[in-house]
């Protein structure tokens, strides 16, 4: 099988509002930066894949407008997933493995400021039994958090510590939206307080994938994708064991995460309580640096936050700060779907 690596990563500054920018105006500088990193031009890219959702913008086919930022003429090979960009990266990885492309541009963006993201996300729920009750994203995460507290796996103090650690780590992240000491705040939906919840904001991210020697030519230390897998659980919350994430566990197994220890983990946990579930599923102990970027608690551009986990993990390998990193992305309520990738720098495998 071909070796495929993440060779470049760029992201926008993540901001509460970006009224002066259309989606393509927000995305384009990120695309230019990621291309500049490799010296590639848009026309050199073999495959382009993006992740976003119309529900954030409230407009049909909004991703076609964002394509203007790519330079889609002469015609390019392109695809879109109505998912986080992490799943677009998965599609691009498959495209390169099949030999249909040597390079791929993957991007994702979300402008949550256009609407009320808590209400918008209710529209992804079962439309017969759950959607008509409009349970918002914080409410569903809070049900999971209470289940963890009842099971004795965490408490509000431990959750606040996760928030504090994430926001402290984000001080070194120039793109983060929330950083430094952030008060725990009032209950949004008890037991989750403001500090346990991600900021709402606008942002975009992009990565470039390349195969074999092309990757080596484009990047001094490519982040090789040693394995990547994604799994989904039953939609109905009532049939799931909310304190566990068997889909994360299985995806990590299939991605080879447990073959050797990782030194870094970028976890897509928009709520503090979800980090508790993910750490257990992935068997992460204190020897692993978790979310040195600050994670989704520091910046959570919906549809891009998962791709950013892959990008941040890869960037640490590019910089020589990690030899073997795990990156995780999630989608759906209470960690319904999970993607795990294992990335390695060249020397780690010698």
């Amino acid at each position: 099988m071909r070796d495929v690596a993440i060779v470049a990563f760029a992201q926008s500054d993540h901001l509460r509002r970006t009224d002066e920018l259309s989606e393509v105006e927000m995305l384009m500088p990120v695309l230019h930066r990621v291309l500049d990193t490799t010296g590639l031009r848009a026309g050199d890219i073999g495959f382009t894949c993006s992740g976003s959702t119309d529900y954030l913008a409230g407009r049909a086919f909004s991703f076609t407008m964002a394509l203007d930022g790519v330079g889609a003429y002469p015609p390019i090979s392109e695809s879109h997933v109505e998912m986080d960009g992490a799943w677009a990266l998965y599609e691009a990885w498959v495209k390169i493995l099949t030999g249909e492309a040597d390079t791929a541009l993957v991007y994702a963006y979300g402008k949550s400021s256009s609407g009320e993201v808590r209400d918008v996300l209710t529209r992804q729920l079962d439309p017969y039994y759950v959607g008509p009750l409009w349970p918002d994203s914080v409410a569903l995460a809070a049900l999971q958090a209470q289940a963890l507290i009842d099971a004795g796996e965490t408490d509000e103090t431990a959750l606040a510590a996760i928030a504090a650690r994430s926001r402290a780590a984000a001080v070194d992240n120039p793109h983060a939206q929330l950083k430094g000491p952030v008060p725990a705040g009032e209950y949004v939906v008890r037991p989750l307080r403001t500090g346990d919840c991600p900021p709402v904001g606008d942002g975009a991210a992009a990565v470039i994938l390349a195969a074999g020697d092309t990757a080596r030519a484009l990047c001094p230390r490519p982040a090789w994708i040693r394995g990547i897998d994604h799994r989904i659980e039953a939609h109905s919350l009532g049939v799931r064991e909310l304190t566990r994430s068997p889909s994360t566990r299985l995806a990590a197994e299939r991605a080879g995460a447990f073959e050797r220890p990782v030194d870094t983990a970028e976890l897509h946990a928009p709520f503090t309580s979800q980090e508790v579930v993910l750490r257990k599923a992935l068997g992460l102990d204190d020897s692993v640096t978790v979310n040195p970027s600050g994670g989704a608690l520091a910046a959570n551009p919906v549809m891009a936050a998962g791709l950013i986990r892959l990008g941040e993990a890869a960037a640490r390998i590019h910089r020589g700060e990690s030899d073997r990193a795990l990156a995780h992305a999630t989608s759906g309520p209470c960690l319904q779907q999970n993607l795990v990738a294992v990335l390695e720098g060249e020397s780690a495998h010698a």
Partner: protein, 316 residues
Amino acid sequence: MPDILSAPLVVAFPFTRSLGPVQSAFLTGLRERTVLGVRTGDGKVLVPPVEYDPVTAQEIRELTEVAATGTVTTWAWNPAPRPGQPLDTPFAWVLVRLDGADTALLHAVAAPGPEAVRTGMRVRIRWASERTGAITDIACFEPYDAEAGRPAPHSGEFTDPVHGIVTPARLDYRYTPGRAQSAYLGALSERRTVGERCPSCDKVYVPPRGACPTCGVATAEQVEVGPRGTVTTYCIVNIKAAHTANLDIEVPYVYAHIALDGADLALHARIGQIPYDQVRMGLRVEPVWTEGGRHPDHYRPTGEPDADYDAYKELL
């Protein structure tokens, strides 16, 4: 830089959904104050019921009645209810395992405060006074300390079963078109049409979106185009508009692509003041503004000779 525009944008739709046999029985049951579950191959009772076993994916149809009482398996106190949620005063979100069921249902518990709710608490259904066959026929749950009810077989047959539901959805947005389109709309309010030139390929895009779709680079240089232009292609519309703003437009009418002079992209607009069957490719047109209008109402012939095909063939 011009003021950045923003405007309310409402997306609302009454989604009509059909029900399969299991969902139909469950929702009809709620209308009749009866809660039905479905039994899986290994004997578990799922409430709310599904048509396929979540573990084996086998089709399941065996319905069972469960009690209207149950136990809270997890909860979350909601101090500030949002539009559409079951109660408009603070309440607890809950997963409730009804007596006789092996899985839990998501709903709300009415309680005076968070101290009145706990995992393991006993609750019963408070039925909505008017029931139509929907999950909202359960108004909410309420605390209830009593014996557990028992499951009983049920045929799932009712007179006048519910076969479909309507689930209205409304989301409120504030649309902000960004820098380039704000400038375009601002110029239109002065009856000018402004595009943007690509610094790489020199093409002028109208309306501008801030990027050249060919080169993938930012456009910034504003260029006034028009007001006159050429019809590049058109269609004849025979469906009367339903929108209140367009009720006075008689059918058939012509909708056309118009290449404004100086633009490298055609925009589209209605053609008026000429019989619909006399509109043609190459027709020269100009905008007609109505009093207070923020964009041209329609375009009309200028009376100039038609443009040569070669002059606009690249814009088709």
